[in-house]
Symmetry: none
Subunit: 533 residues, 2 copies
């Protein structure tokens, strides 16, 4: 029989404490709607008493009809020198007009004395009065016991007393917080057992973990096994310092491996999409190694294994990637073999047989290029173009006849002047020759500008395309400035994103290769969309 | 009483299975030496039977006298259709001439049948024969039980039998591997208890975890609590798919929180430095949210908390950051920098007091430059030169009045022609002007050649110096080819090695800054050695 767990997302509140994670009110609304689609039970929208932006979020989100989620407002217990009904923070919480309120109070004696600057007894009164004041106004009232585990280690009796007061005053769930993130899983288990011993086996409690010991997910799972009914965390584990407990790992662990049920478990196939959406909105790169949802999470290297993986994926993957909406990736690496190439070709819409001699030629060429420093894992557009070339169907829409780049710093303090000139022929072999020039803030930028200027006359659709990312890696081998470099470029237009690669001892030459393949791929995609080639 | 645990690092083998983590043989040697300094017990250098590059690493590392670490070679049990003494893979393992060998065998019945394509009984013979064959030739022999936990779930008796055979044949440690990374901490505990029930309480075992369920660190700690004497993992958790167990989290958890001892525990204050060094060598950004060692791990936001944090750091930090060589960062405050700067200055032989106004100016300048993209962790020579400049003692031995770089590819197939011209004045301000030119195989290389040609006339000792490494990182911000780049250069002469940095939107300008600082530092070191400055 499966047990239910409720998922409480605090990406919009605790998550935004992360150094690089910033969301506007509009972003927050978009993320909240997406979390609702996923089936998150509670969405903590912010701390209205501390942030006017958060108050606006609560006003705006009321205009939307949510499918399942309930919005929570977060705030602290009342000020030590005030009474509950006169406290600004509690008032702001109620003004957020959310069905759920989460209120946090102090557990750790040193924080009561140092941060609150009050007595231990007064803190207990504050917790009780704050919970009691809010109780009649909300559907659900959660009590976050801040620094619970550290506080328990320091003074267990006092820590337990704070929980009792919150419960007596009407809190629905007592959420045990590892605020500093220093607690390890075996301690979580021991302390929760003590809590249940003193407050009763039926104590309704939740867990809120931080990742400072790299155990936030395990701590959350351990708490659930000990009976927690609510797990608080954030998407992709975003949060202050080392982040919060990562819901994108916790939810599939609970549902796929531990037999628990939650609403988001019904929409697990959307998990990867939602995880990437949240970082997309925040304009953060999505870390490729994220469990379950990262681009590398189901990536397999090596030729000999590929056929085995395709026959028996379960023996090489802890779960089927489709269950969380992720996909298996077979990396074309220097171990690659025929089956890899056939698999990739199928992704590009080319049906090849492993016995076809052209597959052998492609394998040889890829190996040769990888030995030279090319890498196709992040440059699948270059791989696709290479395959067509070896199949005797080169995709070429122009040829670069020559270029010149001049980078001049005429005086010690003046800025460099960078100019590129290019000569292209469109279409290749027979077409018109265009000779033009442009400047840029660096030599690669100038080359990019000059090439586009020359080509856009013939192919105005190149204006739709932009370069999203430009990466340089110096390859091992010759040390120092004579080394070979590999340039990886990511480009996109309105619909698609693609990667290309170039390698040379000359960084401009390598960049030029990757740029040319990027423009070429755009032109190829547009023709393919129109049914040509 | 504290218990001992041995740390087994596989960054150089399993770590390099990560999609973006590539190391040359030279890089591997540098990383191995650094891991030895940290006090890692075993360093797995590679799989000599599968990769000729790895065989070279084992030859080269023998020239170094390691302080503490022992090097391990990794390989598989012998081929099903061969005998142990005729097997190429086992031969390659012995040819690596390492004091330690780690050999992996199959535990999971489906892998025996599908991957090895042999019978269950034959697999047991293979394990036994392979271990027995290697045993007399090595000091330490470890047996990695691949897919142990999945294999145990499928057929516990068979999984246990593989361990017994490896132990009987002489393996020193039975390493239980969660190869697919799907096992959760409570399952690790249950299965290890079963192992001990059947193989005896004194079974000597280790743990090798992967992070596909986001629990690799917790799984490793759980295994240690159940008696594991060896933990295998990688620096920063780098590895295939979602990575391996992160030693940079495991080691401080074991030592600072669980009362275990290991050699690396004695050098914990160097953990952050080593963690960053490894990713620097691989030219990967160091994720800021990494527990213990990340730049954000001890970053505190907000003014009101600052004084409380400084008075009672323990109440806001799970450990003292200095214990792992990391630093507290108080965001939006210059308090974080001063002690750092004083500490660094002392390393450079400069005694400064934290109250000295020049320290404040240095902090400001460093912050300003870091905001622009400079980074001094791998470029201490640039930091030292900057400090002298702000102390009113600029070290300048020449000035670059101007340069011009021309990169010309006159035809589609011909190689580019790259030429640099430079104008320098030696000594600066008053000296002779030298105007010269040189070619190179790329624009940075040409600039390097021209600068040396101009300067060596005045400073022939620059001939002793060579550039060891040249790295480029594109900085986040403006996307595409208009982005800012950071260039890091490592140089050395007969005695010393140093790093310098340059930042600009123009890669040649950034390279030029780093080159100039590198030559300057060499000239400064030589004067200092002679007692001048």
């Amino acid at each position: 029989m499966s047990r239910k767990v409720e998922i409480y997302d605090t990406t919009l509140r605790d998550g935004t404490q992360a150094e690089e994670f910033n969301l506007s009110v509009e972003d927050k609304v978009r993320v909240a709607l997406k979390l609702d689609e996923l089936g998150i039970d509670y969405i903590e929208g912010g701390w209205p008493g501390s942030n006017p932006k958060d108050a606006r979020f609560f006003r705006e989100i009321r205009d939307y009809r949510l499918r399942h989620a309930r919005i929570a407002a977060f705030g602290s217990t009342h000020h030590p020198r005030k009474e509950a009904h006169l406290d600004e923070n509690l008032k702001a919480l109620l003004e957020a007009k959310t069905p759920v309120v989460t209120i946090f109070g102090k557990t750790w004696t040193i924080h009561v004395k140092e941060a609150l600057k009050t007595t231990l007894e007064r803190n207990l009164e504050i917790i009780e009065a704050s919970v009691r004041f809010l109780r009649p106004h909300v559907e659900k009232l959660f009590y976050d016991a801040e620094h619970f585990f550290d506080g328990f280690k320091e003074d267990p009796d006092y820590a337990l007393e704070t929980l009792k007061r919150a419960r007596e005053a009407g809190a629905d769930v007592l959420v045990l917080c590892d605020t500093n993130g220093g607690t390890l899983p075996h301690e979580i288990v021991e302390i929760i057992r003590e809590v249940k011993k003193h407050l009763g086996k039926k104590t309704v409690f939740g867990i809120h973990a931080h990742n400072d010991s790299d155990c936030a997910v395990a701590n959350s799972l351990a708490a659930v096994l000990e009976g927690a009914v609510q797990v608080q965390g954030t998407m992709n584990g975003v949060g202050e310092r080392c982040g919060n407990a990562n819901l994108c790992s916790i939810i599939p662990n609970l549902v796929l491996k531990m037999g628990y049920e939650c609403e988001a478990g019904k929409n697990l196939h959307r998990l990867t999409e939602v995880s990437r959406f949240v970082f997309e909105v925040a304009n953060l790169p999505h870390p490729r190694h994220l469990p379950y949802v990262g681009r590398s999470a189901f990536a397999h290297k090596g030729g000999v294994h590929v056929s085995a993986i395709l026959r028996h994926p379960r023996t090489y993957e802890h779960i089927d990637p489709e269950r969380v909406g992720n996909t298996r990736r077979v990396l074309v690496s220097d171990l690659s073999g025929r089956s890899n190439i056939v698999y990739k070709a199928r992704q590009f819409g080319l049906e090849l047989s492993a016995e076809d001699p052209v597959v052998g030629r492609i394998v040889e060429e890829v190996k040769k290029r990888e030995a030279e420093g090319y890498e196709y894992e992040a440059a699948e557009a270059s791989l696709e173009l290479l395959m067509y070339q070896l199949l005797g169907e080169p995709k070429r829409y122009f040829e670069l006849l020559g270029y010149r780049v001049l980078d001049l710093r005429p005086s010690e303090d003046g800025p460099p002047l960078v100019e590129a000139t290019v000569v292209v022929r469109v279409p290749p072999g027979v077409g018109e020759v265009e000779h033009t020039a442009a400047v840029g803030n660096g030599p690669v930028n100038a080359l990019d500008h000059a090439l586009r200027k020359a080509l856009e006359r013939f192919y105005p659709q190149l204006k739709e395309m932009k370069l999203e990312d430009y990466k340089v890696r110096v390859l091992p081998g010759i040390p120092g400035t004579g080394a070979r470099v590999r340039v990886l470029i990511t480009s996109r237009d309105h619909h698609r994103q693609w990667g290309t690669v170039g390698v040379s001892e000359d960084i401009l030459e390598a960049s030029c290769q990757a740029l040319i393949e990027s423009y070429t791929y755009k032109l190829y995609l547009d023709r393919k969309a129109k049914g040509g080639s």
